[in-house]
Symmetry: C2
């Protein structure tokens, strides 16, 4: 088979970058010609991780059909979260831990999804199934991705498989999970260094919910006040993006990664769907969601259900 | 988790029935409460297989949401090939070897697809990965499904993984693959016993192609003349089903399983898409397709491409 590119979603987080590198390594060992690339620059947390393990950032691409005929996706499958010319190439492999939606192929493919906390956990299992050794540096990167996606195994998305992968990867990489994990999460939440636009863009993804275009971003912090003090500026940027990109509803979820509480900031309509989804009332376009840390598990499903009701 | 049902596609073939039984066994061993059911009665080939291994046919269901909240799919994922009330339940597990289309979930799930010849091949790998033993009777059933889907490893969908699974399952079941396989395939092609309507219905599946509703059936035979002599009657039944169920195009593929040649019989429009897909001209609504035996790999992809061009 000719060369493939492997990549994670737009606005890459640590798992999107690392899972692409890990799957590229895995597939290269299996004899495929694969290059890990990214659909954006690494964020602050990922930059900390790459620096820590002395690993280069992947090449950033805007399109892929100018280079290859087929691609491999990690950490996503929905077309609107992927590369802009995805419809011009064949998807041969997917490794993911999200719902399946807005994804279609003409031919059979390899698809591996599990409802676990992180793509790198599934990849750890795949290395084990193949009895393929994980190099120490790659183990450190994969460990970082799981810490990132599961917020140090505190997120409700965390499963026994994630805990087992962390145990195994930490041993291979010889890393103290708690101290490294807190340093890494703090490095990722240096909000003062970011503009309002960077904050709402950082991790945002688009979803189609019953015909409505819904944009949902998440800002991780160690102090919610750091985000909420900037509400006016954030709302202004959300409104500007809605006008520019045609979103109906824009939700920014501010999450305290240390105590697992979130606050919603909502722009656009229908706000009633948000209130219904979370059984709450918005006050000043805001609502508190104690115990909510996972967009995928605690925000998208109830909101989708509220739209479809 | 409460009880789940596991089932293959409508118009079940041997893999649809057997993969449900195999995955139900696998998941039961893992501690789930699972029952294998079917969306239709076993065909002649499957009946031969079940009798040979003294295995009961699965219970046939028309709906599932009256019994369970969540289901597991094998050997299919497209909603129009599944149970009629699929939208009323949650899909938690899929094991399949087809393209992914018209499939969407609200939540993350376990999804395992590989571009191999048979779902039972993937299940064999899953048993191996879990180091779970396959009972001899189940191995015989799974072996039969692979022989059925790959036409005794002759279909172009056949991969090294299918050959390796057949080798392993035949050893566990203590079966001579060639002699058993030919007897089984012949048992499945006793066409004289079937009406014209039964022939076009037997294995037919629906596909959405660029907004057109396309029905594609396949009739396996050991002598093409047995099918072609009945063309007039078959076309009449195809026209009747198109009128009743709103299909735009109905294609029946008659395949000689012993020498791997097929003949198309086409009803409805656009016939030009069929001619373009296979670079042929229809004569008396028919065309010869030498070397074509796989609907999934040799019919659906070029036809989809012709519709989308």
């Amino acid at each position: 088979m000719s060369k493939s590119l492997v990549f994670g979603h737009q606005n890459p987080d640590t798992d999107a970058i690392v899972a692409a590198k890990a799957f590229a390594y895995f597939q290269t060992q299996k004899g495929y010609d694969v290059e890990a690339v990214a659909l954006g620059e690494p964020n602050m947390e990922t930059t900390y991780v790459l620096n820590h393990f002395d690993e280069p950032a992947p090449r950033v691409v805007k399109t892929v059909s100018n280079e290859v005929d087929h691609v491999m996706l990690v950490d996503h499958n929905e077309a609107q979260q992927s590369v802009s010319d995805l419809d011009k190439v064949q998807v041969n492999f997917v490794v993911d831990h999200h719902r399946i939606a807005n994804f279609t192929t003409d031919s059979p493919l390899y698809y591996r999804a599990e409802p676990v906390g992180c793509t790198s956990t599934i990849l750890t299992e795949m290395f084990n199934e193949e009895k393929m050794e994980i190099p120490a540096k790659l183990a450190g990167l994969m460990l970082s991705a799981i810490i990132s996606d599961t917020l140090l195994l505190q997120s409700p998305t965390t499963t026994d498989a994630d805990r087992e992968a962390v145990r195994m990867l930490a041993e291979i990489a010889d890393i103290d999970v708690q101290s490294y994990g807190i340093a890494m999460l703090k490095a990722g939440t240096n909000l003062a260094a970011k503009s309002d636009k960077e904050l709402i863009d950082g991790d945002a993804k688009s979803f189609d919910m019953a015909g409505h275009s819904v944009r949902i971003g998440q800002i991780n912090t160690v102090d919610l006040a750091d985000v909420l003090d900037r509400q006016a500026g954030l709302e202004k940027e959300m409104q500007a993006e809605m006008a520019a990109d045609g979103y109906d509803l824009f939700i920014t979820l501010a999450t305290n990664v240390l105590n697992s509480d979130s606050e919603l900031i909502v722009a656009g309509e229908p706000k009633a769907a948000v209130e219904k989804a979370f059984n709450t009332k918005l006050d000043n376009n805001r609502a508190s969601l104690p115990g909510v840390v996972s967009r995928k598990k605690q925000v998208v499903p109830p909101l989708t259900a509220a739209f479809e009701a």
